[in-house]
């Protein structure tokens, strides 16, 4: 087991290394950060000074190796824009994104699982058809459009919820969380729903597909023949089996939700990491982009690891191998 973990960690390090190389080359290919950051009326001397100040006057490989050297000491560089350590910027924004992503995932499971179960057990009923049609809408509509519609309806027309931004926060463990206050929750409702919409649909479909398959399995038929209560059959036998794909996908989606909350955060002016990364990309703030991606890779690797571990718990047929 520990060999397995060690292996995964080494692989993770390699992935991060590859990632940093790609980002360096990528940002270099896209454009010149100084051209974006510099005031248009700066003269050539000022431009040269800015290029030197940001360390962009050196050859790319030299920039990369000095980055690498610092990274090994835990320093991922300072933001070109904010002049603050990139990791610190990300850590400041992380709680906002994390609570949004967890909120969305929670919503997705809370809503998606029962609906999917229902749709799978009575696949031909009107209710199931409605649920499935709704789930299709859930991932047909572009996120940005749904977000704006939510604001239009619930904030502008009905005035029930605040339109944008993050509400009051409470400091726990040195970080500011908004889900602990009612005001914070009202601010979170719309963006979380917006972000969850796609996942609700996904969970519904996965659950339904799983249920339908499992119900036809021999062991379920056998359990039925044995006269077990339907509740027990569904609750124990069916449920356990459909959990694998759901856990995989929800796990994977949690990571991508965190990474991809860019659009929701930008529509709802939610001050999270997604907003930070899109702003950073727009101005080619390379240290922040690199640091952000490294953190995301790290997070993904952890999530994948957990998913794999859960796999082996849920399905004894899959064994963790270290051969």
């Amino acid at each position: 087991m520990s060999v397995y973990l060690l292996r995964r960690l080494i692989q993770a390090a390699l992935v991060m290394l590859a990632m940093s190389v790609i980002v360096f080359i990528g940002v270099y290919a896209i454009g010149d950060p100084v051209e974006i950051l510099i005031s248009p009326d700066a003269d050539q001397a000022e431009r040269a000074r800015a290029i030197a100040a940001l360390g962009l006057d050196k050859p790319l490989w030299e920039q990369y190796f000095s980055f690498l050297g610092n990274a090994l000491r835990g320093d991922l560089g300072r933001s070109f824009v904010f002049n603050e350590p990139a990791l610190q910027l990300i850590a400041q924004r992380a709680p906002a994104t994390l609570e949004l992503a967890f909120g969305a995932t929670f919503l997705a499971v809370l809503v998606g699982l029962p609906l999917g179960l229902y749709a799978g057990l009575r696949p031909n009923g009107v209710g199931a058809k409605t649920i499935m049609a709704g789930s299709i809408l859930g991932f047909s509509l572009p996120t940005f459009w749904v977000g704006l519609m939510l604001i239009m309806v619930f904030a502008v027309q009905l005035g029930w919820l605040p339109s944008t931004g993050r509400g009051e926060t409470v400091e726990v463990l040195g970080m500011r969380w908004s889900f602990l206050t009612w005001n914070g929750l009202t601010h979170m409702a719309m963006p979380a729903l917006n972000l969850a919409l796609f996942k609700i649909s996904l969970v519904i479909r996965l659950t339904r597909a799983g249920v339908r398959e499992t119900m036809l399995m021999d062991y379920v038929k056998f359990a039925r023949a044995k006269g077990l209560a339907p509740k027990r059959i569904i609750g124990v036998h069916v449920f356990k089996n459909i959990l694998i794909p759901v856990v995989t996908v929800v796990g994977l989606e949690l990571g991508s939700t965190i990474a991809f909350s860019v659009v929701t955060e930008s529509v709802f002016a939610w001050p999270g990491m997604g907003k930070l990364i899109i702003d950073s990309i727009n101005v080619l703030d390379r240290p922040v982009i690199v640091a952000y991606l490294m953190s995301i890779v790290f997070m993904f690797i952890v999530i994948n690891l957990i998913v794999d571990l859960l796999y082996s718990v849920l399905d004894p047929r899959v064994r963790l191998e270290s051969k």
Binding site: I36, N83, K275, I281
Partner: protein, 526 residues
């Protein structure tokens, strides 16, 4: 269920009660993120606007960008290379320290020494060779050459306190620890990229701000910002999208404030390739290289300008929020050339000129531009593409993100590109940066992305930069601009109108320089 509903109602009521109302507090939402509270870290308009709430300059500018006394009460050139500034007495920083000439000298010394600055303010102190403190309220600046623009330079320099800011880093400003100036607002809190909160500086030397507290929020998405205003979450927004103008003008709950700005949207043309070279995105009608660069022919440039229906762009694309332009600065500003008019729309004349220049059947060109930088930029290049195509210059249009576009534009990769220029009100500003021949030595033409070059323009500009007689200087500046306009160095399209929107009951003094500042907002007189 009912309990839940009740809880929701109660909370909602509490929420409404907590809503900022009355003259005590103001919630503003701006479209551009503020990246730092250090006034000398990043020369960036949104940062400067916030800095102008916290700090003061020796020379302030009014809403129409005219110079008015700030921390200096008067200034004059007492010799060809010496400027003397009289400082305002009795001014105190937020922490109670007195403002003196020492602070000015300290500030000027700090400008070039802000570590990691992505765009520093060093250019404003560079002409000054020596600072002489005559007495605590008199300071002299000695320059190497006559420098008529020194007061203009001082409109960009926010004054810090020597004692407080001696070793202050940018991070110290961002953490609000040393975000201390002499301005009308004190910083209460700062959440990077999210919001800044201010409190009135009751000891302010100028006219007292109207609100006790101000929340300055950043909502970068245009539609979300408008929605926040309509939902009553914020009282005031800037950068009102033109697409929402018609709706907001008819909304009884909302008032607008607007003013003609100082930002010209124009087309840069390829002057880099010689008359007998190929311009990268110009071909003949069959897509083959032309063997010459038609853009080097002034008749072609004029034809391309005549083909553009500026009024149509202003009305249809900008929904009225712009003024057709024939030069960099709008009327009413000293640098405006009175006898240069926007080129009238004349498609027939354009076709004639093209034929005269040897292109009776036109040619093909690609027009590049950003699609996320200026108001409706992507729409404008498409509209220009339509108009050029109609006079026979078949135009392909490509809009890119600014990050990609600006790097290539800086390398003069394009044949024709749309770009904007936010000017200060002096004509020397666009001349020096856009119309002058590129010269690293003189620091000219750093934003001359078409590589236009005209010795006559350069000569007049050079003369104006050391001319201390204001009348003569203005004449040189106007002459240089006139020559460039007649030569169609660039194709001006329009000057943007700056628009803000607020809940009814507020009034705002709209600023030509686009700055969104809380001291310009007041409750409407009843």
């Amino acid at each position: 269920m009912r309990k839940l509903y009740l809880a929701a109602t109660v909370a909602l009521a509490a929420l409404c009660g907590a809503h900022p109302s009355g003259a005590q507090s103001l919630t503003m939402a701006v479209g551009a993120p503020i990246t730092s509270l250090d006034p000398h870290y990043h020369q960036l308009s949104p940062n400067n606007a916030v800095a102008d709430m916290i700090f003061d300059k020796l020379v302030n500018t009014d809403a129409r960008s005219r110079q008015v006394p700030g921390l200096a009460t008067e200034w004059r050139a007492i010799g060809p290379t010496t400027w003397e500034f009289k400082l305002r007495p009795g001014v105190k920083f937020h922490n109670g320290r007195d403002f003196t000439a020492e602070d000015v000298a300290f500030t000027l010394a700090r400008l070039p020494n802000v570590p990691n600055a992505p765009s520093s303010f060093a250019a404003y102190s560079r002409p000054i060779q020596r600072v002489e403190i005559v007495d605590p309220l008199t300071i002299r600046f000695h320059t190497a050459q006559p420098h008529p623009l020194l007061p203009l330079d001082m409109t960009n320099v926010r004054i810090l306190d020597k004692e407080t800011h001696e070793d202050a880093t940018t991070e110290d400003f961002n953490s609000t620890r040393v975000a201390i100036g002499t301005g009308p607002w004190r910083v209460v809190s700062h959440r990077n990229g999210e919001r800044i909160e201010f409190e009135r500086n009751d000891a302010y030397w100028g006219s007292a701000p109207a609100f006790q507290r101000v929340a300055y929020r950043m909502i970068t998405n245009d539609a979300a910002r408008t929605a926040a205003l309509l939902a009553g979450d914020v009282d005031f927004i800037d950068q009102v999208p033109t697409t929402d103008l018609s709706k907001l003008r008819n909304d009884q709950r909302v008032a607008l404030s607007e003013v003609v700005g100082l930002r010209l949207i124009f087309l840069g043309l390829d002057h880099l390739r010689g008359p007998n070279e190929n311009s990268p995105f110009v071909t003949d009608n069959d897509g083959k290289p032309l063997g010459r660069n038609p853009l080097r022919d002034v008749r072609v440039r004029r034809a391309l300008s005549m083909a553009i229906d500026r009024q149509a762009i202003v009305e249809r694309v900008m929904e009225g929020a712009a003024t057709p332009a024939g030069q960099f600065l709008p009327p009413g500003v000293p640098g405006h050339v009175p006898d240069v008019q926007p080129t009238p729309f004349d498609p027939e004349g354009a076709r004639r000129l093209l034929a005269e220049a040897g292109y009776p059947n036109g040619f093909r060109i690609q027009l590049n531009g950003p699609n996320d930088r200026y108001i409706n930029d992507g729409r404008i290049i498409q509209a220009v593409g339509q108009m050029w195509t109609r006079v026979g210059v078949r135009t392909a249009v490509e809009g890119q993100t600014w990050a990609v576009f600006v790097g290539r534009a800086a390398r003069a990769d394009y044949s024709a590109h749309l770009i904007g220029w936010g000017s200060n009100p002096d004509g020397s500003h666009p001349l020096r940066n856009i119309l002058a021949t590129v010269s690293a030595e003189k620091g000219w033409g750093a934003s001359n992305r078409g590589r236009y070059s005209n010795p006559e323009v350069d000569r007049l500009l050079q003369a104006s930069l050391t001319e201390l007689d204001e009348e003569k200087r203005q004449k040189l500046v106007l002459d240089a601009q006139r020559i460039a306009a007649e030569d169609v160095a660039v194709i001006p399209i329009h000057i943007q109108t700056n628009i803000w929107a607020m809940r009814r009951g507020l009034v705002h003094e709209a600023r030509a320089d686009e700055a969104t500042r809380a001291q310009d907002v007041r409750p409407a007189p009843r």
